[in-house]
Amino acid sequence: MKNTVKEWLENGIVDLFLGYKMSNGHPLPHCFTLEELTDVEQLIVSETRYSLEKIATHLARKDPELKIGLLARDCNQRAINVLTVWHQLDPEKIKTLNVNCCPSPIKPQADCSYLSSQAVPPYKQQVGVDNTLGVETADGFTNQEKNIRWMYEFQKCIKCYGCRNICPVCFCAECTLEHKDLISPGTLPPQIPIFHLVRASHMAGRCVDCGLCEDACPMDIPLRLLYSKVNSIVKDVFDYSTGESSEQPPFSVLGEKVTLSLKPM
């Protein structure tokens, strides 16, 4: 893998390569360049996940001609697909080096920080929503119970905007969550459940199910579960699989004609 990166940098296939390196005892993202080619020896693959594709969009915004290589797990790859669909990254300028991730029958072994999630405390299990529940199980509660459990989770929110900030597919210049008429500034907790549901609805056809938002949430709100539910509806109703499709999601309202079409029966 190190040799591939070196080769890419030497042959000018990529101008820089985003990967990970141990620095001060922490596995941190690092930008490998041709000038510091010997650093490539320290390239590591670990459980650590940062949103490298988000960094790539920052770089691409500064210099659209830049050829960027990056270490990509499956979730990174899905996020890159979404960013490409939304014209935030040029697929010609992005080259990925795929690493082992997300276990499946074909790939039993995986390196992912999300998989080593901590045990859910009993109180949360009793009154809130267990982060590790699947969409079906979480859907199994009665409507009233769902309401109580989710409101318990939402009222913990400290409005850090971490879920939005870390999200690899959140790139809008103007964010609804910062619009003062919709989400009034300076109130804590934020208006619930609107704050979370607005974000959830915007995640429809966008969320790549990477789980970074849940990793970054200081209050342990089961955001991944919420967005999974939203995207399962997108899949059921519009037959659109986020992160795999090469077309924009069915909700793109920009353009001349309405493109919203239902899944064929």
Binding site: L28, Y50, G162, A216
Partner: protein, 135 residues
Amino acid sequence: MKCTFVPSICSYCGTGCGVLFETIDGKIISTIPMKSHPVSQGKLCIKGWNLHEHINSPMRLKQPMVKTFGRFINTNWDEAIQITADRFKEIIKEHGPDSIGVLVSAKMSNEENYLAQKLARAVIGTNNVDHCARL
């Protein structure tokens, strides 16, 4: 184009969350929580998430200012420190060292707070030391 990731500690409060500054060509672009940091474990509050904004803010004071005849005048560090020392000396001479109090901050590191109390006790000669987190 040069892109670096600089590990640091959030300067907003005494908790000491680990942050990572993403810089492109020497300018801080964004703040990322450091995932493996033992204190914050990859989480930040809204203040930590926006550290880069106050660093890049055009409102930020980049040099010391001295209030002269009711107006703030830009000056350099040497002069500002000299003026402060002179005024302290005057006050101590006139009213005694206990007329001065030192209020330290949770935004500084433990070591800086130690140095500040040392300055108060050994140089100024007062035990009037307090901390903003006790207010």
